[in-house]
């Protein structure tokens, strides 16, 4: 636990010099902060292997925090190194199952109670996504497997949605990436008009996202989000990998009537919204979801946008969000 405090102190010490144009080479020559990544030994699905190292590297570039870009991989919560490092990252899509022994659950519970922080990436996953791992969707409740696991870990606690004004969304970066951050000329369109409007007003307002969290002793010890790691990977030249596309809700003059009657053969799924109400998603097998009926009775169509500008924007957002989460974890 002493090490936790040292790291927190260290991180707080470096905050005043944070800035978007901070020096490229971190000035900390001593030991770096090691982020742990949990992956079961039996896991055969490795999702976005470049993601976390890239994000840690990016944090070193854009802040004066000093992270070891090589995450410490652990495959059991009984690993003695668990208690030496304050941040644990887990991509739920990589877990073959959520079965842990009682000893492992006890160790994790103790870790979280003693000051550790657990980031459950892909800890939110809308049911209609099924086994399609290349999608995210801003549902507002943890996936069922996570809920069942945490009912064992902390029977008296539940995940609750993080409010849009939560500090986690503005620990280091505030707001959505602008042209300057995206290295675009001032007059250049960063996104198609309809996409930008939707992103700013509905998808990621004030650079927030659908996060749920769990608190112990009034401290946020665990957050779950839709998959964010897909937005963190960069190649050695700083170009983002892999490409990301956007799913946008669009309306039109008569969609409330047209979509209600338009030909459809597939399944419908209910997804929880931020306000607790349910959207009904219309999806056909083998295709991306078609449209949505919102609880207000409004019908909107899903349109899919891809391209360099979309991908760059999404990556920038996810990376800034990821940095905010890890720096929040260090400071709290």
């Amino acid at each position: 636990m002493i090490r936790f405090f040292c790291l927190t102190f260290f991180a707080i010490g470096c905050l005043p010099v944070f800035g978007e144009s901070a020096s490229v080479i971190p000035s900390f020559g001593g030991s770096s902060i090691r982020v742990m990544q949990f992956r079961k030994a039996s896991s055969s699905r490795i999702r976005y292997p470049d993601a976390l190292p890239s994000l840690l590297e990016l944090m070193n570039e854009q802040s004066r925090a000093s992270f070891d870009p090589d995450p410490m991989m652990i495959d059991t919560f009984l690993d003695e190194r668990l208690f030496e490092n304050p941040i644990l990252y887990l991509n739920c899509d990589e877990l073959p199952d959520f079965d842990f022994s009682e000893e492992e659950n006890n160790a994790l519970r103790r870790y979280l109670e003693l000051g550790g922080f657990l980031y459950l990436d892909a800890g939110i996953k809308a049911s209609f996504l099924g086994a399609d791992l290349g999608h995210s969707y801003a549902a507002w409740e943890e996936r069922i497997e996570v809920r069942q696991w945490f009912e064992v870990l902390f029977p008296e606690r539940i995940f609750t949605p993080l409010p849009r004004n939560h500090e986690i969304f503005r620990t280091f970066f505030r707001g959505l990436p602008d042209n300057d951050y995206l290295k675009l000329e001032e007059e250049q369109k960063r996104l198609p008009d309809t996409v930008l409007t939707f992103v700013e007003q509905e998808k990621w307002p004030q650079a927030t996202y659908s996060f749920v969290g769990l608190k112990i002793n009034d401290r946020l010890v665990c957050v779950a989000s839709p998959i964010c790691a897909m937005g963190w990977g960069r190649d050695e030249f700083g170009a983002w990998i892999p490409p990301i596309s956007f799913r946008i809700r669009e309306s039109a003059e008569d969609f409330d009537e047209t979509l209600k009657l338009a030909s459809f053969s597939g399944e419908t799924y209910e997804v929880t919204r931020e306000d607790g109400l349910k959207d009904v998603i219309y999806s056909m097998k083998g295709n991306r979801p078609l449209w949505v009926r919102e609880p207000t009775g409004r019908w909107r169509i899903f349109k899919y946008y891809s391209g360099e500008e979309i991908s760059d924007y999404a990556h920038s957002f996810y990376a800034r969000l990821g940095m905010n989460v890890f720096l929040y974890a260090l400071l709290n």
């Binding site: 770096s32 030249f237 969609f255 360099e308």
Partner: protein, 526 residues
């Protein structure tokens, strides 16, 4: 006969092609009406596919812009040929909102597997790379790889000249007017369009004018530069290209400079002039990039100065870990030959465990360090288990006989895997030394250390080993029982008789059943 059959086939194909050159008005019979492919509705209140399409086809030619937008959006959800034809028509709509909706829906069709191969149709889509609306130009240029199969189809074309039908071959290249549009597209005011065209220009079978390539290599947008550097090999010997790359070797963006380094390295093998680019970057302000250039030059066979080697060493020591450029530089160190040894040695004190681990490995391999315990014993005190394991894997089976001081250093280690190595070392150590040291290892808290010690004692036939083994058959740790059993079985003269005595004295002991089986296999009657 064959000729006529071929001619008839070409004629039939041409009729189809002719018909497609101008999309027909919507006809519900164009729809695939296979009930399984398009079941009518999810609920009773929904319309059929045909009705939905018919309504959309009416709306897409409505006089109201909002209705046309709505129809263009909806048509994207029905990836069938008739729907694609309506959307292609809508690409010529006077309203940019309709055209945007149409192109986004067409992309949806392509994503859903509804591909369009007819050249006349694909050319109409591709022609939108000159659309006044930037969003449409972006979408179309991003779609190029999907358009290429239709766009570059070679075949026959039928013309009528003065009432006379003329056939001529159609080359598998862009139509001249589209070629012109594409060439202009490289200088599009929008950098995403430039980037997309540049990335896909080879698949369009286009060659960029060298002067245009030089201009693109001076683009304001770093992403365009990265793509241009990726594509530059074809133009490497064109006038102005080398000079322009020399200029961007000083670019403010470190990603671009790193890419220049990689490109220059690749080109330098065929075009020696590009070595100069690497040399000019040895003084790069970013130590990662200057180090990367240095190791690339070493890979090309150039000898580095001491100052350059020192710079590499300093850079790697200052890194947070082994990742990205640091990893590339590290992997390139082997090109330095003997000069790399000192760099490896300095990195064994790095703050990153992964860096220490690979540095120890390389250092021991380059120096035959496993022969010198003074080299590797300090590594076994490393706090990171991965480092210790890496060193143990490197030296295991290669070390010689240890001196007393060295053996004691291993025995007193706090790490069990290191003490296990001490036990393994008993196999080669001086016999007197083994007799002095083994007791400490036999009472070790770790079972693996004790089992390994037993095996070493049996192999060396150290005085008293028989007694130790016989007693160990009753140990609570199964691995130790097994090691004792193996040791006794390996000595028919005294070991086997002792084992026979044991199984007779302790028939119910846990190891006795296995011992009896092993003895029977060797021809003894237990």
């Amino acid at each position: 006969m064959k000729f006529f059959a071929l001619f008839a086939f070409v004629l039939a194909s041409l009729q189809t092609y002719w018909a497609l050159a101008s999309p027909p008005p919507f006809n519900p019979s164009d729809l695939n009406t296979d009930a399984n492919a398009f079941p009518s509705t999810g609920t009773d209140s929904r319309t059929t596919m045909e009705m939905t399409m018919e309504q959309a086809s009416r709306m897409v030619s409505s006089t109201t812009e909002k209705e046309r937008v709505s129809a263009a959006k909806l048509l994207g959800k029905y990836a069938v040929r008739a729907s694609s034809l309506l959307l292609i028509e809508a690409l010529d709509d006077p309203s940019p909102l309709v055209r945007r909706a149409a192109i986004v829906s067409l992309v949806e069709h392509y994503n859903a597997g509804q591909l369009i191969y007819e050249p006349a149709l694909v050319e109409r889509i591709f022609a939108k790379i000159a659309d006044p609306d930037v969003e449409i130009r972006r979408e179309v240029t991003a779609l190029i790889p999907r358009l290429v199969p239709g766009l570059l189809q070679s075949g026959m074309e039928k013309f009528e000249i003065n009432g006379r039908t003329v056939f001529r071959s159609r080359p598998g290249s862009l139509r001249p007017d589209l070629f012109e549009l594409a060439q202009r597209g490289f200088m599009d005011p929008d950098s995403i369009v430039r980037q997309n065209l540049l990335r896909h220009h080879f698949s369009l079978r286009l060659q960029i004018h060298p002067q245009t390539m030089v201009l693109l290599l001076g683009d304001k947008d770093p992403r365009v530069l990265l793509v241009a550097l990726d594509q530059v090999r074809m133009y490497a010997s064109s006038p102005g290209v080398l000079d322009q790359i020399m200029k961007i070797a000083k670019h403010r963006d470190s990603g671009v400079r790193s890419k220049v380094c990689q490109t220059a390295r690749n080109l330098a093998r065929s075009f020696p002039g590009f070595r100069e680019v690497l040399r000019s970057m040895l003084d790069d302000s970013n130590p990662g990039i200057s180090s990367q250039c240095a190791v690339e030059l070493a890979r090309l066979g150039e000898r580095l100065t001491d100052a350059d080697i020192e710079k590499i060493s300093r850079y790697l020591l200052a890194c947070n870990g082994l990742d990205g450029i640091a990893e590339k530089v590290y992997r390139g160190l082997s090109s330095l030959g003997q000069d790399a040894i000192e760099v490896y040695r300095s990195l064994t004190a790095h703050s990153s465990g992964r860096m220490r681990s690979v540095a120890w490995e390389s250092y021991l391999m380059q120096t035959n360090g496993w022969e010198k315990p003074s080299f590797w014993i300090p590594a076994l005190e490393d706090r990171d288990v991965k480092v210790r394991e890496s060193v143990l894997n490197t030296i295991r089976g290669r070390t010689g006989a240890l001196e007393e001081k060295e053996l004691n250093a291993l025995i007193s280690s706090q790490y069990p895997e290191v003490r296990a190595l001490a036990a393994e070392s008993l196999l080669k150590a001086d016999e007197n030394l083994v007799e002095e040291a083994y007791i400490n290892l036999l009472i070790d808290e770790d079972g693996l250390v004790r089992a390994t010690t037993l095996r070493a004692l049996a192999a060396r036939r150290i005085s008293g080993w028989l007694k130790v083994h016989a007693r160990s058959l009753l140990d609570s740790n199964y691995a130790i029982q097994r090691a004792a059993l193996d040791g006794l079985l390996g000595d028919p003269k005294v070991g086997v008789p002792a084992l026979l005595d044991f199984v007779r004295a302790y028939p119910a002991a846990r190891i006795s059943s296995l011992a009896r089986q092993e003895l029977v296999r060797l021809g003894y009657r237990p």
